[in-house]
Each structure stands twice: as structure tokens, then as C-alpha cells.
Symmetry: C2
């Protein structure tokens, strides 16, 4: 297995650390079954899709906030560094791995209570183990007139985990940092902090207005290691009267680039109110079939000819954009018209997928999908349905199929929403810079990254996401064969060169992987890193929580 | 003058403080003309509208960020506590006053550079001295296709100052914490921190995406005393194709309460995309004429009869709501229809004020306003124009006229946008709780507060502002006669009782005045206060920046 011998990372172990003593106390606190040190468990939490395997010293599975408080107190006394995670589905960014070998993973998956759902004002108070699928089902079962904002990472990923990484979804609440209010945090000091108005006894607005009075603290508990978030008030998406997913197809790179100013204007004018995603042809191809190894043996990058042929065969263009409109019937109708009108002068095909069309398509495919003229239609209907689901609060694993691009067996027949990408030996590494919402920046960066990927013989899978009105979150993905040592090493080299280049070009990443943290921490030593270090000492004096996680950015 | 002998505040002076030494060094740094200790200057910065006068030890007027760095370094060495302010127009919350006597005010008004305006992506990089009026004029002069989000506090108030207090405006960017990206902060330690991506050399996204990578720090520099913000990237409101201000009039309390669920739904569904404000009759009456002292001598509260008569005379109802629609012509037309439809079943009158109607009205009043049947029309047209201006990026002082309610001379003939409320001896104190966006909470609180105000013989001026989709920012204002010692004491007692009651009811304030900080700091001693204190020590070890400001919340 290709571990990263090239970039050895220091262990976070303190020489005074008393792991055996801590384990004894944790067992007394949590019970033997919630303190894991067996090889199988340690191996499970060492699995990685991003070639940054770390072997933890143990896994703790607390069931309550008070147990978290106690286990942190034990860790401080015994000087054993912890590494909290919610459900460990941080695919391509570190999965369920800690940043350093020898850290003790605190798996919060058992803390999966939906403490409260407010159907009037539309929020849910949840614990870190609550998954997208769980909350989605709960709302549907209870008839709550709200959806969740979904990501494409599958139904088993944690909502809080993603928010704390500052991930983004697809709906009007896709800019997730703006969609929660009121945290409960167990600090490194062991104290329980309630942010916003939450610390005022009887406050009725903790989950309705995030900032409280006095300093607004929530931001410092995202992408950091100051505490363990044990509860949060998540804002839900009101189910609209009308809902219409759409796809926009661009044949050539230049078509997308020409459309970009119009799209920015639509986003700025709040006609595109959700977070549309734009993927290149490779993203679409990868979810259909793996890399054609037979046609290009010994290579991990398509030739232009093969890529053109695959694109033609799949009937897709260079870029596909997906999003959805939400509102009253007339609002949705108007926004559909405005989107069409804005793109009238560029070469783009706008396809609307309202629920009744999708339902008819599903029926049609069921009846006639086996007939030759309609082969391929099924895939498109399935993709459309998955998009519609994701935009309307039903998480799906469908978009993880593309991660099998360089997998030797391709997507398995039994692939499902429950598939664990790390166990499947998938190889993916994401580089996710924020760039200005401008044609020139996107053109420059796509060219730069494609050249860089070509140097390392990888295909450059891209999505570009309209995270806000002024910026795009671009994601450049290295899909590599994790079973192939040489290819894995090349992938890591490509990743490191890519990240360096992004910073050089002035497009820093919005999020780091476990691997990226090691890479970047050493590169930064400025007043920001100094400030973060001082905050760390203030809130976690013994440095017990996740040493190395977003340190020094 | 009624100072607050009832609640003596400790001085922030350190016995080791060397003010004379510091003054010498500051004079060498800034020049004599920018270090003020004369009585006139100290008196100017002691003026208050909120009965919480504090006399500073000196006033410093730095012109650059580097001067701020140097003056902080001198303050640390000489242990002289500073109190930064932007333009000192924090009306009703402390004005240009420090929290404690003897603090050295750092007036950032000279730092009024508009460093950069990006007309493509719509942001401005500004210093703390940049006022609403200045940026508004600059954008108009340069033909930049963006407006600013305005508050009603007049053209001379600082944009950064208001954002750091977490104030809110009226436009779609009225939730101001969501409308800036990238701060520069001089910490108490003297270091210069650039937040978000700003600390990465050459980053092109500092002012486009606020969170950066690693902990998102900006929140801790709002409502706090950890540093002096010297620069910020402010997002601007795109000038829409169509724009239509509106007023909704509700005759009775019950009409507003009945409408509230519909309004919440409109806000949640992003049909009301800006931050509509709803004011009670007293707010409207107060901007026309002062309290009728002749009819109710010895009282500061209208009788129900007089209030009803005044309301009738002014032709207004119990509540008036104001807002504006922004978008394409068809979006605006649709949203107008949806607002009308949503309010069809309640007793409410919706009046749209599109620019051409206002222009015609202004012309009409100019021609015929002197004729008897059209008296009063002028006031309405003037108010409509002021609302339209404020919603379209042109700040106005018109809404400060209401602050003269208890002033013995009423609004002066020469009142203008330039009027300094503190110099005018205006008496106002705001209590601004956040409440759930629910009929029951608003009904309960309006009743409670009106009873409390009645106990102290004050009129209860109210605005209710749709700060987000789930919460209302209510503002209950005590208008008192600052020249009347007994009334001022009664005002302070009413304020203190009101604030206590708000916390008891579970509706904490979103913002504190200089007076409120002293009142509340002693009431809170929990893990939140402890955390804030630890952050303070981490970022400002000598406690030099604004001791007492939002400490202990």
C-alpha cells in the first residue's frame, strides 16, 4: 500500500503521554465496547481515498455530550491527543483518518439524536452523528414542510461534519456557513460553550439568529481544532410551491466561458438563488464507466481523440451545469425564462426537469428502456432523478459513482448508497480553490490545471460551483488507482504541485485534506498562523484536540 | 446634566499608566493637531444621546494603519487604555463616548480612504472613516453600477463602525454580517492581521469569499475589543433593472399581528429579499412634530385619546411597514402581486412608490402643495422620497427627525443631514432584542414593553425589522428630555428595567449601548464570558483595546 513515505509527519505524541492509563479510564467511562484498539478497528480508521493513511492509537465512541466532556478531561490529564470526527465520510479529504498517526479518534457517530425540529420556523437541532439521510427521512416521516440542503457525498455523511469543514450544498441554503445558528462546543479545556444567545438561560432565539451579543464565535470552530462541536441548530429549506431542476449543456469550453458573465449576473441578481454546479465532460463520463484501460494501456489520461469519442458516445458536451429553481409557480416560470433569455446568445442548451417530466421519463424507461433506440436514456433519466432528489432534500450516493474512474474493476454491480469509498480502495484527491466569478480567471486556471494534470498523466476532472455571488469554488480532482503504487506516487506529486501552483496564482484553497494540512502548514508562518496559535492556546491549553488540523493556516 | 451617578463605573486606569509619557510619544507620532486634550475636544467626545456620558483622557486621530500600529504599541508600553471609534455616530448606543471615563479615544475618522472599488464584482475596500454618504457619492460619481446598503443613521455615519456593531440596513444586503469579506485588524498585540485569504500574498479572492482556509475569524472582531479594524471589503448592492419601494399600512395592532405569519412566509420564500422595517404610529408621529407638551404638561407619555387624535390627524394607522423590491421588471411586478395577494385577507393597505410616481408627486407638491387641500401631502411625499433614497443607496438624515420627540424645541428649522444629535442634546435609548418571527412573541413583547414604558410615563416607540427569515430585530426606544434631570433619571430606570425584563423573557439584545455594557457585564458570568476573556488575553494581552466594550457577554 502506498503510504506517504515521501513526507514523513511527526507524531503528535507527547513523551509524557499515558495512553494505557487513559484507555483504562475511557473504558470505565464508555464501556469496553466503545473503546476500540483491535487491529480491525484501527485498520478501518486508517483507510483512505486520498493516500494519506494514518493509524490511530484507539477509537472512542461517546454517546453523550457529558461523555465527551469526561473523555476530554481524561485526555488532558493523560496527555493523549484526540481527533474528533462525525461520521468519517470526508471522502477525498482524509475520510475517517486523523492528521497524525497515534491520535485517538473520537467517533461521534453514536451521538445521532435529532433533538428538536421546529416546523414553524424551519430548523433542526442535531448532534454530529446525524446524517443527511437520517434527517431527510425524519422530516419526510414527520411531514415537516422543509427539506435539507444536501451534498453529493451520500446519505451517510454527517451534516455537522460537513458544516465544520465549511462544505457547501446545492440548494438555496448551499452556502452552509449562513445556514446554522447556535452551537454547543466542548472546548479543549473541557468546558461546554454555547454560542450566540445559547448561553443565556431561557433564550428563545438561540437557533434563529446566529450572532448573539458580544463577539460572534461560531466561525472559529469551523476548520479548526479548538473544540468538539456536539450540537448545532441547522436551518432547513422551506418546501416551495414549485420546484424545477435544470441542466445546461455547453458543447465547448468557449461556450461556458462566454456564458460565465451572464451566469454571474443571474447569481448576483438572485435569479440563481441556489448553488449551481458545473462539471466538465470527465465528471459525467466517470459516472457512466471507468477509464478505458483497454484502449489506453499504461496511461491514466485520455488522449484528446479518445476523450472526444467518449464524449460523442455519451452525447454530452464539454460542460454540464445543474441547479434548480425554487418558489411559487410564477416565480419559477419567470426564473426559467430569465435563465433561457440570459443564455440565448451563447451556445448552450437549457433543459428543465420538472417533477412530472421526470416521472413520465421514469415510466417510459421502465416500459421501453430495453428497446435498442432507448438505450442510454435510462442513464440520463437516472441522473436527472438523482439531481432532482439531491436538490429537493433527498441525498443520494449516485454522484459517488464517478470516483471509480481509475478503479481497476470500475463501479461494482452492488454499488449502493451504503458503499464505503475508503473500503473500496478508491483513489481521489480534491484541490478546491476559490476563484473570482470571472471568465478570465476560470479560463486561466482550467488551462493551468489541465497542463499540470497532463504533465503527471492524469485526467483533470473539474467542477465549478457558484458558492456565492462573487466567487466560484472550483474542484480539480485527481482520480488515481490506489492499488498501483507508482500511480499513487504520481498522484501525490501532482497534488502537491497543483496545490503549490494554486497558491502561487493567488487562488488559495477553501478547504484542506489531511494530506494538504501537512503540506501547507509548513508553508505559512505569518500573523494569521500566529493568531490561530494564540487562540488554540487560549481554548485548548494542552493542545489535546486534533493537533495538526488546520494549524498554521 | 444628568450623568449616571446611580451606577458608578470603575475607571479603566491602571495605576502604572503613564498618560503624560504616552501623550508625548503620540504627539511625536501624529503631530500636535492630531492629539487633542483641550476641554472643547474632551467635551465633544463626552456628548451623549443615551445618558451615559464618559469623559475621555485624550483623543488621537491617526491617519494611517501604520500610525494605528504605532499608537497601540505606545499605549501598551505606557498602559493607557484606548477606545477606538470610526466616526462616532453611534446614536442612542453611546455616540462618540468610550465605555469608561479616562480612556483615550482613537478617532479613525481621518482614515477615510476608499482604497478600491471593483465595478465588475461589486465591492469596495474601505477604511473606517468612510461614511455612507461618501461611498454613495463616490459610486454615483464614478458611474459604478452598484448601490450601498444604507441605514437610517444619516450620511455621516461610518460603514465599518456599523458593521462592527452588527447593525443592519434595509436593502437585500441589510444583514450586514453577510455582506463583507476580508478584514485588516490591528490587534491589541500591535500585529496586523489579515483575515480570510488576505494573509496569502497575491490572493485574488480576499474580498470575494469571506471564510478563507482555517478558522474563520471575522466574527470575533465584531462586538468585541480584540483589535482595531482598519480596512474591510464591503459588498455592494447591484443596481437592479427595476426598483420599487413600498409601504404597508396597518390600522390596528391586530392587523399587523394577523399579517405576521404571511410576512414571515414571504421572507422565508425570498419574496421579501430585503430587510423590511415596521414602525408603530409613534415613530411616524415623531418625525412630524414633537410631543404635544401643551396638551399634556408634566407628562412624557400620550394619553390614549391624544394618541388616537394625533394618529387620525396624521392619517396613519397603528403600524407602517416599509421595504423595496429589487430585480428585473417582471420579478418586481411578480413580487408586488405576491405581496398584495399574501395580505389580501388582512386589513392592510399596500402602497407602491415606484420612482416615476414619486417624481410626479414631488412635481405636484411643488406646484400645488401650498393649496389647502394638499397640505400634509408634502410630508408624505418627502417621507416616500426619503424611503426610496435610503433603499437605493442614498443615505438620508430624514429618519433622525423622530429623535426630537421629547426635545423642548422640537426639530429645528435648520435641521439637516449634517445635524449632530449629541450636540443637539437629544435623549434616546434603544433596547433591541431579537425575537422569533412569530405572532405570539411579538404580541407578548409589545404588550410587556408598552406596560413597562407606561409605568415610567414614556411612550413606547417601536420598530420591528425582518433581520433574517426566522427572527425579528425589535427596537424599543425611550425618547426622553435630556435637559430634564428627573425625566432622564426616569429614562435610565426604564431602560434598566426594560433590559432586565427582555433577558428574563428570553429575548436577549442583539447589541448593547455603552450604558448597556455596564449593566449587563455584571449579570453574566458563564462559560461564554470566560471564553471571551481568554480570547481577549490571547489577542490583547495588556487589555489595551476598549476595556469594558462587550466584555463578559
Amino acid at each position: 500500500m502506498a503510504n506517504d513515505n515521501a513526507t514523513p509527519l511527526v507524531s503528535a505524541f507527547d513523551p509524557r503521554s499515558d495512553l494505557p492509563g487513559a484507555l483504562g479510564e475511557w473504558r470505565a467511562l464508555l464501556g469496553d465496547s466503545n473503546v476500540l484498539v483491535d487491529d480491525q478497528a484501527l485498520t478501518h480508521y486508517s483507510r483512505t481515498t486520498s493516500s494519506s493513511s494514518r493509524r490511530p492509537a484507539a477509537i472512542l465512541k461517546p454517546g453523550t455530550r457529558d461523555e465527551v466532556v469526561q473523555l476530554v478531561s481524561i485526555a488532558r490529564r493523560c496527555r493523549t491527543p484526540l481527533y474528533p470526527l462525525s461520521t468519517g465520510q470526508n471522502w477525498g479529504y482524509g475520510d475517517a483518518c486523523a492528521v497524525y498517526d497515534g491520535q485517538v479518534i473520537v467517533d461521534l457517530g453514536r451521538m445521532n439524536r435529532i433533538e428538536h425540529v421546529d416546523s414553524a420556523l424551519g430548523y433542526a437541532v442535531i448532534e454530529p452523528g446525524v446524517t443527511q439521510g437520517q434527517l431527510s427521512r425524519h422530516l419526510a416521516e414527520q411531514g415537516v414542510p422543509y427539506w435539507i440542503d444536501c451534498t453529493g457525498s451520500g446519505p451517510n455523511s454527517s451534516l455537522i461534519g460537513n458544516i465544520l469543514e465549511r462544505g457547501f450544498g446545492h440548494s438555496p441554503y448551499g452556502n452552509r456557513f449562513q445556514s446554522f445558528s447556535g452551537m454547543e462546543v466542548v472546548l479543549g479545556s473541557g468546558e461546554v460553550l454555547r454560542t450566540g444567545f445559547g448561553h443565556f438561560p431561557g433564550a428563545r432565539t438561540t437557533h434563529l439568529y446566529p450572532y448573539g451579543i458580544g463577539p460572534y464565535l461560531d466561525g472559529i470552530f469551523t476548520q479548526s481544532n479548538f473544540g468538539i462541536v456536539t450540537k448545532l441548530g441547522l436551518w432547513l429549506v422551506p418546501i416551495p410551491e414549485s420546484f424545477c431542476p435544470y441542466i445546461v449543456l455547453f458543447d465547448e469550453d468557449k461556450d461556458l466561458l462566454e456564458a460565465l458573465p451572464q451566469l454571474q449576473k443571474l447569481r448576483l441578481d438572485r435569479i440563481l438563488q441556489s448553488v449551481p454546479h458545473i462539471g466538465n465532460d470527465l465528471r459525467a463520463l466517470a459516472s457512466d464507466a471507468p477509464f478505458p484501460r483497454d484502449r489506453l494501456p499504461g496511461h491514466a489520461r485520455l488522449t484528446p481523440e479518445v476523450r472526444a469519442a467518449l464524449r460523442k458516445g455519451a452525447g454530452i458536451g464539454a460542460w454540464s451545469m445543474s441547479g434548480a429553481f425554487y418558489g411559487t409557480s410564477r416565480q419559477v416560470a419567470l426564473h426559467k425564462r430569465l435563465l433561457k433569455r440570459a443564455l440565448a446568445k451563447v451556445d448552450a442548451k437549457v433543459i428543465f426537469l420538472p417533477p412530472h417530466i421526470l416521472a413520465a421519463g421514469q415510466l417510459f424507461v421502465r416500459l421501453f428502456g430495453h428497446l435498442a433506440p432507448f438505450r442510454g436514456l435510462e442513464k440520463k433519466i437516472r441522473l436527472g432523478s438523482a439531481l432532482a432528489d439531491m436538490h429537493s432534500g433527498k441525498p443520494t450516493g449516485a454522484f459517488l459513482r464517478g470516483c471509480y474512474w481509475r478503479h481497476q474493476q470500475g463501479v461494482p454491480a452492488d454499488f449502493s448508497d451504503q458503499t464505503d469509498l475508503a473500503r473500496e480502495r478508491i483513489g481521489i484527491m480534491w484541490m478546491a480553490p476559490i476563484i473570482p466569478f470571472l471568465r478570465e480567471d476560470l479560463a486561466l486556471l482550467n488551462r493551468e490545471m489541465d497542463e499540470l494534470f497532463a504533465r503527471f498523466d492524469f485526467d483533470c476532472h473539474v467542477t465549478v460551483n457558484m458558492i456565492n455571488e462573487r466567487a466560484l469554488a472550483a474542484v480539480y480532482t485527481i482520480d488515481y488507482d490506489a492499488e498501483d503504487e507508482a500511480e499513487t506516487r504520481r498522484g501525490v506529486a501532482c497534488y502537491e504541485a497543483g496545490v503549490r501552483r494554486l497558491f502561487e496564482l493567488g487562488y488559495p484553497l477553501y478547504r484542506a485534506s489531511v494530506r494538504g494540512m501537512g503540506l501547507l502548514a509548513s508553508a505559512r508562518d505569518d500573523e494569521f498562523a500566529g493568531t490561530v496559535a494564540r487562540l488554540k492556546r487560549a481554548l485548548d491549553p494542552e493542545g489535546i484536540i486534533a493537533p495538526g488540523r488546520y494549524d498554521g493556516f
